[in-house]
């Protein structure tokens, strides 16, 4: 079972490598282009990695360890940009900050100055937008890490003469370093995987290269060549994230955990903390989403197309979530015997969707040649497979966390009480992880809603999802039209993300 799940993840990865090595059609993509695209990807990932590290850590430190106006709201609200697809944020900001856009016309005319850049369609513009889209990964990881720290360590630091800032730098931050590395690695994986935003901002990364090689040149080989460095980078980030996680495991082993007494930030310091969090939330959620909503007024959207795309999106997200959770559950139950499988699954998570899709093209071609007719069903099945391969690890995480509550002695107890190994898993493991399956499913669900490149490559002809629809409108420079599908994604994912973050926020050590 676990082997099957691992196979599903490995299939597309093997497909990419084979495709890249296989063909000899080198004419269409020059090595120089490949290098340029790769450098852009690396540079962008580095910029966003640094920016998210600073912003996410600062925000987490504020809400986890301090008391200031609005803290309990920001504690979960700052994770909400996770619900906004990065491409929607890019559409909104590009429009909002355009030289000829209403905001800057107003600024020039009324305030007499302009912003110090002509266009946001640049690497730094992309870095700005992707930072806003992905800082929640760092924020969530660091908030959890800070909350997990026992007050004792910080009190000891205080007794040894550290003020609040020094305690952060010398104690809290070093203790949370594994979480920081993990959060930043996740954010950078997302940057490498992003297609919609960078494509729209005309920043040529490896992911846009893959999609272009496939859609424009129709060349699997060159697409796979773009995919190879991405795959290597993904593996590197994954290794970073995993080794960081190893360090995290022993701070749970402390003898006594005591909740940190939040330090009150008085007067202007408290208000500037609120201001910082408020600005972050405005920039990451309110402003871009508000602008999309504003643009919708006076627009007559193509409702028929929209509702059909919504149906497709829900179908894919629902089916994908179900399949992924099913496979992840099998994998989680099986990996206690076969830990390698879990590691392979996480490689899938690090792998951009575009790479997954390219990797599935070769097996897909084989399936097409064998089974003719009923093409839509097969294409959708392949798409679901790509989702499952990519998101298996995301689903695996909460399920594994649930399984951690099952001690080895519980399984052994079930054995001595007359159950076989499989029966014991069904009677003990499954009921205990049941609660986490919903969490896992929802995480996968919203990820699929926002997914663009794999869907774009593998979907059946004319099978539009909300994300694909938004992408098409945006590519045709019909930006206001791209608003409604983006907002529909948001309408589904926002409540889900709220529920998830509040649920995570309630979890504390010892519970």
């Amino acid at each position: 079972m676990a082997a099957l799940a691992a196979f599903i993840v490995l299939l597309p990865l093997a497909g990419v490598v084979l495709a890249a090595l296989g063909g000899s059609g080198t004419a269409d993509i020059a090595a120089r282009d490949l290098t340029r695209y790769a450098l852009t990807s690396a540079w962008l990932a580095l910029l966003v990695g640094c920016a998210t590290a600073v912003i996410g850590t600062l925000a987490a430190w504020l809400v986890a360890m301090h008391a200031f106006p609005g803290r309990s709201f920001f504690a979960w609200a700052l994770a909400l940009p996770l619900a906004v697809p990065a491409f929607a944020m890019a559409y909104s900001y590009a429009d909002l900050l355009d030289v000829a856009g209403p905001l800057r016309i107003y600024m020039r005319a009324e305030l007499g100055f302009d912003m110090p850049f002509s266009t946001i369609r640049s690497i730094s513009g992309a870095a700005f937008i992707l930072t806003l889209a992905f800082y929640p990964y760092v924020f969530l990881a660091m908030r959890a890490a800070f909350l997990n720290q026992s007050a004792a360590a910080l009190e000891a630091a205080a007794m040894l003469g550290c003020n609040g800032w020094q305690a952060l730098r010398r104690v809290a931050l070093p203790m949370a370093r594994p979480a920081l590395a993990a959060g930043v690695a996740l954010a950078m994986m997302e940057v490498l995987a992003d297609f919609g935003a960078v494509r729209f901002l005309s920043v040529q990364t490896l992911t846009t290269g893959i999609v272009r090689a496939w859609t424009v040149y129709g060349s699997t080989v060159s697409a796979a060549r773009f995919a190879l460095p991405l795959l290597a980078a993904a593996a590197l980030l994954l290794w970073l994230e995993r080794s960081a996680r190893k360090g995290r495991s022993h701070d749970g082993a402390r003898a006594r955990w005591r909740a940190i007494e939040r330090q009150r930030l008085p007067g202007w310091r408290g208000w500037s903390a609120s201001l910082f969090c408020g600005l972050l939330l405005t920039a990451g959620l309110l402003l871009p989403v508000g602008w999309l909503v504003w643009n919708m007024f006076g627009l007559s959207p193509d409702w028929a197309r929209l509702t059909q795309a919504l149906r497709h999106s829900l179908l894919l997200a629902g089916g994908g979530a179900a399949l992924t959770v099913l496979l992840a559950t099998l994998l989680a139950l099986g990996t206690r015997r076969l830990p390698v499988a879990a590691r392979l699954a996480s490689l899938g998570y690090a792998t951009p969707g575009a790479v997954m899709a390219i990797g599935l093209l070769a097996p897909a071609g084989f399936v097409w040649s064998v089974v003719q007719g009923s093409g839509v069903a097969i294409a959708i099945a392949l798409l679901l497979l790509a989702y499952a391969a990519r998101l298996m690890a995301a689903a695996l995480e909460p399920i594994d966390a649930g399984l951690a509550r099952v001690s080895p002695s519980m399984m052994q107890a079930a054995r001595t009480l007359g159950r076989t190994e499989v029966q014991a898993a069904v009677a003990v493991d499954l009921p205990i992880v049941r609660g986490t399956l919903l969490t896992a499913g929802l995480i996968v669900f919203i990820d699929i809603l926002k997914e663009l490149p794999a869907t774009l490559i593998l979907r059946p002809f004319n099978f539009d999802t909300l994300a694909v629809l938004a992408h098409h409108y945006a590519s045709d420079e019909r930006l206001p039209q791209a608003g409604p599908p983006s907002l529909m994604i948001l309408a589904v994912s926002l409540p889900t993300v709220i529920w998830l973050t509040r649920r995570i926020a309630q979890a504390r050590p010892g519970h």
């Binding site: 052994q412 054995r415 001595t416 009480l417 076989t420």
Partner: protein
């Protein structure tokens, strides 16, 4: 020992990598009795329990239940088919099941009515009937343990294994819980094997004591017999303070500082005289052979009085039953008649 042991181990060895955690272990358990496996932590006693339960494979030797082999190198009856109950040190109750459902877990194949009856009876027997609908995390440690024992007994195992059952309880509570639990287990009448590292506990509970150190079983027998007739200094020390004096056996006895002590079963050669503190007697103005020394300290704990005597063997604590001694007084240490055992060197 019974002619028909319910469980025997013969030359059982278990290796982790190159290390033999259990080495050539052999033992017999008799029906309806409480046996204690005593040894320091890390000596392999928990591993023996897991080997018996079937949770680990045997690398050498074999385990027989009612004369039938259940485990040998390369062959093993799975734990669910062995009919042995195991109570884990952490109790391992299922957090998602109520107390009632935990206890019923192992007997789901029985008709509902029988099942309900069994569960109610066991819960009542172990005084946790009022907790039937509660969930494990709301129970105290002692209550969880009673539920875990009831759960293991529901399948009517022919043998119940308990891994350090009292180690998580402390002080006077421990003695109390232990006493009532052992009484309940005796009333049920199941054969029990308890692993413990506490010699007093083992002496108190056991019908049969099994002494273990460094992966080997040293001695097995009635607790009093193990205490009085240790097979070695190590075995003696597992059950309390003991001191060894090197002697040489010749012709069925050995000359010791206290005179000749019989050793009828030992071959000639070097051996050890094992002494318990209460084997010695401090006497003033003695003419009998013994070791001369001086009282350095007098101690009194409750009713028991002890003199610390400095002599050639070091500082020895000697119990003082009668005659009062003064600090600094010269005494001679005697061996009580019949005390002291000559054992082979180990």
């Amino acid at each position: 020992m019974d002619d028909h042991p319910i469980l025997c181990l013969r030359g059982v060895t278990r290796r982790y990598g190159l290390r033999d955690v259990v080495q050539q272990a052999s033992l017999d358990l008799a029906e309806g009795r409480i046996a204690c496996l005593l040894g320091p932590s890390g000596c392999g006693k928990s591993t023996i329990l897991r080997l018996i339960a079937g949770l680990e494979p045997v690398d050498e030797g074999e385990i027989r239940v009612h004369g039938e082999t259940v485990a040998s190198a390369g062959a093993s009856v799975p734990p669910e088919q062995r009919g042995i109950g195991l109570v884990f040190q952490d109790n391992a109750l299922f957090p998602h099941l109520s107390v009632r459902d935990n206890v019923a877990f192992g007997i789901r194949n029985q008709p509902a009515a029988v099942r309900r009856q069994t569960v109610e009876a066991l819960l009542a027997r172990f005084q946790v009937g009022h907790l039937a609908d509660k969930f494990p995390h709301t129970l105290s440690g002692g209550e969880q343990q009673r539920v875990a024992i009831a759960r293991a007994l529901a399948r009517e195992p022919f043998l119940l294994l308990l891994d350090e059952p009292f180690s998580s309880l402390d002080g006077h509570l421990r003695a109390q819980v232990r006493q009532s639990l052992i009484a309940d287990l005796r009333a049920v009448g199941t054969s029990v094997l308890i692993v413990t590292h506490d010699p007093d506990e083992a002496m108190l509970i056991a019908d049969q004591l099994i002494l273990m150190a460094e992966g080997r079983i040293l001695q097995s027998g009635a607790p009093g017999d193990c205490y009085d007739n240790p097979v070695s200094l190590v075995a003696a020390r597992l059950l309390g303070d003991a001191m060894g004096i090197d002697v040489v056996v010749a012709g069925g006895g050995a000359q010791t500082p206290f005179g000749r002590v019989a050793a009828p079963d030992l071959p000639d050669g070097p051996a050890q005289l094992v002494l318990r503190p209460d084997d010695l007697l401090a006497v003033v103005n003695s003419i009998h052979p013994g070791i001369d020394g001086q009282v350095t300290t007098l101690r009194r704990v409750g009713a028991a009085r002890t003199a610390i005597v400095a002599c050639d063997l070091g500082e020895i604590a000697v119990p003082l039953p009668g005659a009062p001694l003064a600090q600094g007084q010269a005494v001679r240490l005697h061996l009580r008649s019949g005390a002291g055992r000559i054992v082979p060197l180990t």
